[in-house]
Amino acid sequence: MEVFGQPWPWYVAGPLIGLFVPLLLVLGNRRFGISSSLRHLCAAMGSRLPLFRYNWRAEGWNLAFVLGIVGGGFVAGVLLPHPAPLELNPQTAAALRQMGLSPEDGLVPRELFSWQALLNWKGFVFLLLGGFMVGFGARWAGGCTSGHAISGLSALQPPSLLATLGFFAGGLLAAHLILPWALQALR
């Protein structure tokens, strides 16, 4: 049981994640992709926009899958929590401390994700805007990291390579240019 509470190395986790591509294809000819669930939720809430007018119940597998992810997150994060801090590169940790974050506990910085952080309207808006871009960009690009960077690249589809390049370009801009400025503004 010990192993289930420890962090898993990349060479265990990576291949296991890759197996979701054939698994979902075999289970029901599905494409491993998670951001579509956000579209189905908009459809389920009854939006009349053309993008959301379809029989979302027929895509129920995707909603069942993400509900499962929430459950798996509960088991791993709440029932079998790993209390030790992440083993980050010391250079990364130093850069984080300089920006006012303390990478001592949990998977995410409490300065950004705790209840207390949400009470600060700036922190709330930061997360809301970041999430907004994730949702907007994923639908515009027609998929997220799972749909493009994992499924699409596995299938050697050129559009997914373009999307993955976009993901990385955006992430680099955010981490190096926007984040230091945004964290300063949050303080």
């Binding site: 990576g14 956000l38 994060g77």
Partner: protein, 149 residues
Amino acid sequence: MALPIPDEFPLEDSQPTPSALSLIPYFVAGGFFGFLAIRSEIASWYRIYEMFRFESFHMYGIIGSAVLTGALCLRLLRRWGLEMRPSEPGRYRYLLGGLVFGLGWGLVGACPGPIYALLGSGVAGAGVVFLGALLGTYAYGWLQRRLPH
């Protein structure tokens, strides 16, 4: 149903509504994925930040070995006639949409899978990110016709 601009993964309108029972395997598979997302630390804001600073191999190793595994499996499955549908044509949607997604990914340090996993593990802020992602999805549906694809 024909959409004005097709989504990357076209929906098959003829599909019947599945029974709740047939959804159980997907729920279980999702459970494994959520567990994996937490245990492998891909759901960690810190790991994403570290990746974009090129200061750790962890995320690159995960994505690289996942793609390799997926590609090998797809090659095998092709022999049995199982294949992934091709993507929609286009350039701008992938580059620009990808860029916007990446900006969000770099800030909140979580893509949709990890957002759900963090929700389950009780991270308060993940709820706000999820709400933002829903709003963003809706906003795209609203602006779809006016964006380059």
